[in-house]
C-alpha cells in the first residue's frame, strides 16, 4: 500500500498539522519509503495469532472511589498559553 498527495493531506488534516502544498510531494516520497519497507510484514503468517495486549502478565489495578485529587486550578493554568477567569481559552468556536 502506498500514499499519494491527497492521502497525505488527509492524514495531516486528521493529525492537525499544517502542511504546505510544497511539502506534500516530499512527504509522499518519505512516507512511501517507510511503507514499502514495512510491507515485508505481509509475508508473515499470523493466522490464529492473538495480538499483543500487554508485554507483562499483570491485572489491571482498580482504584477505590475516593476523591484524592484536584482543587489546584492555579497549578493547572500555570503553563497555559492563555487563560481567563479560571478558564482555559481557545479561539472562538462558532456552533
Amino acid at each position: 500500500m502506498s500514499v499519494d498527495k491527497k492521502t497525505v493531506a488527509k492524514i495531516a488534516d486528521l493529525a492537525r498539522i499544517a502542511v504546505g502544498e510544497d511539502e506534500l510531494e516530499p512527504l509522499v516520497g518519505e512516507l512511501n519509503n517507510i511503507l514499502d519497507w514495512i510491507e515485508q510484514l505481509s509475508e508473515v503468517n499470523t493466522d490464529g495469532v492473538a495480538p499483543m495486549t500487554s508485554v507483562v502478565a499483570v491485572d489491571l489495578p482498580w482504584r477505590t472511589d475516593k476523591v484524592t485529587d484536584g482543587g489546584y486550578r492555579d497549578e493547572l493554568l500555570a503553563n497555559a498559553p492563555n487563560s481567563e477567569h479560571g478558564f482555559f481559552t481557545v479561539p472562538k468556536v462558532i456552533e
Partner: protein, 498 residues
C-alpha cells in the same frame, strides 16, 4: 588525589560515606566540568543552584547516617522526565517553556534517596531518533572522536547515539557521574554503546512511567546510564518501584541488585541467536561478538546456539506500533494547556499552526505514519498485523528461555557515525536499533556493556537480554562480561579550552 569526577558511582558512594569528601565538593567539580563541556551540548538546562542545595541536604543525610546508594551522587536527568518547576520539554519546541507542577516517580525516587540533580539533558525530540540530531536544542556531540589512519584524532564530530544522547555524552564527557535515560526501542542501550558506557533497560513495568513524557506507552521504560555495571545496579535499585499511579507498573519487590554481582557465571546458559548475524554487518561487530562469546565461555558459562526466527520483522513491527501510539500520545500538544501556541483563524487553524511549528520533521513524519496505520481501512493490515507479529517475537524469546538464561548479542550494528551522515535517510537511521528493538517489543530487560573499540578506535558494546523481571541474572552476566572486557579507554578531551 584523583579528580573526584573520575570516580565511579560506587567509588563516590563509598568515599562520601567514609567522609573523604562531601557531596558539595563532588557536585562543584561536576558543575565546573559542565561549564567546560558546554560545547558538547549535552545539557539543555543546568540546575546549579538546585544541585548545590540537594548536595547540602545529601551531606546532611550522610552525617545523620541515613545514606543510601545514591545519596550525594550528582546525576543528569533526561529532559523527558517531568521535574517539578524545572524545564521538562522532551527537547521539543511544542513544550516550549513547560515547567511541570509535579515530579516524575522515577526522579522522585532518586531525590528521595538523596541523589543530586545537575540538569536536564539533551535528547532526540520526544525520544524519536538514534543520533540526538532531532532535538529542537541542536545535536549533542559525542565526546569520542575517531582516530585517523595516522592515529591522530579526527576533528569532525560524531553522534552520541539516541535518543538519550545528552545523557550518555554527559557521563562519557565527565559532566555527570551517571544519568537517567529512557528506552523505547534502544534509546538507552545504543547510545551507551556509542560512548563506551553501560546502559540498562529493565523489564517493562519495573519502573513507573508516571511523569515520563510519553512516546510509545507500551514500550517506554526508564533506566540508568552509568560508567560500570555496579553503578547501574545501584542506580536501578533506586529508580525501580511499584507505582499505583501507573496501571502498567508491576507489583514486585525490588531486590538489592548489587548483591547479584557475584562474578560467578559458571554453568550460566547463554544463548547466541543466529538471526542476529545480519549480512552487511561490519566485520568488527562480528569479531567483537565472537570475542564476547569466548570471554563468557572462559568464565565458565555454557554457550548454546538458539533461533529467534522473527527477528528480522522486529524493526518494521516497531515502526508501526511506536508511531501509532505516538500519534495518539502527542495529540495533547494542541496549544491549549501548556507549551507553544501559534494563533490561527479558527480553533483548527490554531491547532494546525501550533503543531506545524512545534514539532520537528522526524516527529511529524512519525505522527503521520502513526495516523495512517490507525486510519479507517488500514488498521487491520498495519496495526493489528504488527501486534500479532509482536506476539510471535515475544514467543520466540519465551521458547529460547526454556533453554537458556540470557542471550548475548551485539548492541548496535556499527560504531558511532559522523554527525549528519545518516540524518537524511530515515531507514538507515532506524537500522541502528535492529538489535535492541526485539527486547523492547517483548518488554525484556537488556543491558549494553562496553566491550571494545572499532578499527578507528570508537567504542563498541555487547548486549545481554534476560527473562522478564530477571534483572539480577542480566546484571550478573553483564558484570562478568565487563570484567573480561576490562574496557578502560576514555575519550581524549578535545572540548573546552585546550
Amino acid at each position: 588525589m584523583t579528580k573526584l569526577t573520575e570516580l565511579t558511582l560506587a567509588e563516590a558512594r563509598d568515599g562520601l560515606v567514609k567522609g573523604d569528601f562531601t557531596s558539595r565538593e563532588l557536585t562543584e567539580q561536576y558543575l565546573a566540568n559542565m561549564e567546560q563541556g558546554r560545547e558538547l551540548n549535552s545539557y539543555i538546562v543546568e540546575t546549579a543552584d538546585i544541585a548545590l542545595d540537594m548536595a547540602d541536604k545529601a551531606d546532611g543525610m550522610i552525617r545523620g547516617g541515613n545514606a543510601t546508594g545514591m545519596t550525594g551522587i550528582p546525576i543528569a536527568v533526561k529532559d523527558l522526565y517531568c521535574t517539578k518547576d524545572v524545564h521538562s520539554c522532551s527537547a521539543s519546541h511544542i513544550l516550549n517553556g513547560f515547567k511541570p507542577k509535579y515530579e516524575s516517580t522515577v526522579t522522585a525516587n532518586l531525590w528521595q534517596d538523596g541523589a543530586v540533580m545537575l540538569g536536564k539533558t539533551n535528547m532526540d525530540e520526544f525520544a524519536m531518533g538514534s543520533s540526538n540530531e532531532t532535538s529542537y536544542y541542536g545535536p549533542t556531540l559525542n565526546p569520542w572522536r575517531a582516530a585517523k589512519e595516522n592515529g591522530e584524532q579526527e576533528t569532525k564530530n560524531y553522534v552520541p547515539g539516541g535518543s538519550s544522547g545528552g545523557s550518555v555524552a554527559a557521563v562519557a564527557g565527565g559532566l555527570a557521574i551517571a544519568a537517567t535515560g529512557t528506552d523505547t526501542g534502544g534509546s538507552i542501550r545504543q547510545p551507551a554503546a556509542f560512548t563506551g558506557l553501560v546502559g540498562f533497560k529493565p523489564t517493562y513495568g519495573r519502573c513507573s512511567r508516571w511523569g515520563m513524557i510519553a512516546f510509545a506507552s507500551s514500550l517506554d521504560q526508564a533506566g540508568p546510564i552509568t560508567k560500570t555495571v555496579r553503578d547501574a545496579a545501584i542506580m536501578m535499585e533506586s529508580m525501580a518501584s511499584y507505582d499505583v499511579k501507573d496501571s502498567t507498573s508491576v507489583e514486585r519487590t525490588v531486590p538489592n541488585y548489587e548483591h547479584a554481582l557475584t562474578g560467578d557465571v559458571r554453568g550460566l546458559k547463554i544463548g547466541i541467536p543466529k538471526e542476529y548475524r545480519m549480512d552487511g554487518m561490519p566485520e568488527e561487530i562480528e569479531t567483537l561478538w565472537q570475542q564476547g562469546i569466548a570471554w563468557m565461555k572462559a568464565a565458565g558459562a555454557e554457550i548454546i546456539d538458539i533461533s529467534l526466527p522473527h527477528t528480522k520483522y522486529a524493526l518494521p513491527t516497531y515502526y508501526i506500533v511506536a508511531p501509532a501510539e505516538a500519534s495518539s500520545n502527542l495529540a495533547r500538544y494542541d496549544g491549549v494547556k501548556y507549551g507553544l501556541r501559534v494563533e490561527g483563524d479558527s480553533l483548527d487553524g490554531m491547532y494546525k499552526n501550533t503543531r506545524a511549528e512545534g514539532f520537528g520533521h522526524e516527529v511529524k513524519r512519525r505522527i503521520l505514519i502513526g495516523t495512517y496505520v490507525l486510519s479507517a481501512g488500514y488498521y487491520d493490515a498495519y496495526y493489528l498485523k504488527a501486534q500479532k507479529i509482536r506476539t510471535l517475537i515475544a514467543q520466540d524469546f519465551a521458547k529460547a528461555y526454556e533453554k537458556v538464561d540470557v542471550i548475548l548479542t551485539p548492541t548496535a550494528p556499527s560504531a558511532a557515525f559522523a554527525l549528519g551522515e545518516k540524518s537524511d535517510d530515515p531507514i538507515a537511521m532506524y537500522l541502528n536499533d535492529i538489535f535492541t528493538v526485539p527486547a523492547s517489543l517483548s518488554g525484556l530487560p537488556a543491558i549494553s556493556v562496553p566491550a571494545g573499540l572499532s578499527k578507528d578506535a570508537m567504542p563498541l558494546g555487547l548486549q545481554i537480554i534476560g527473562r522478564a523481571f530477571d534483572e539480577e541474572t542480566v546484571l550478573r552476566a553483564a558484570h562478568a562480561l565487563e570484567h573480561a572486557a576490562s574496557f578502560t579507554t576514555k575519550p581524549k578531551v578535545w572540548w573546552g579550552e585546550k
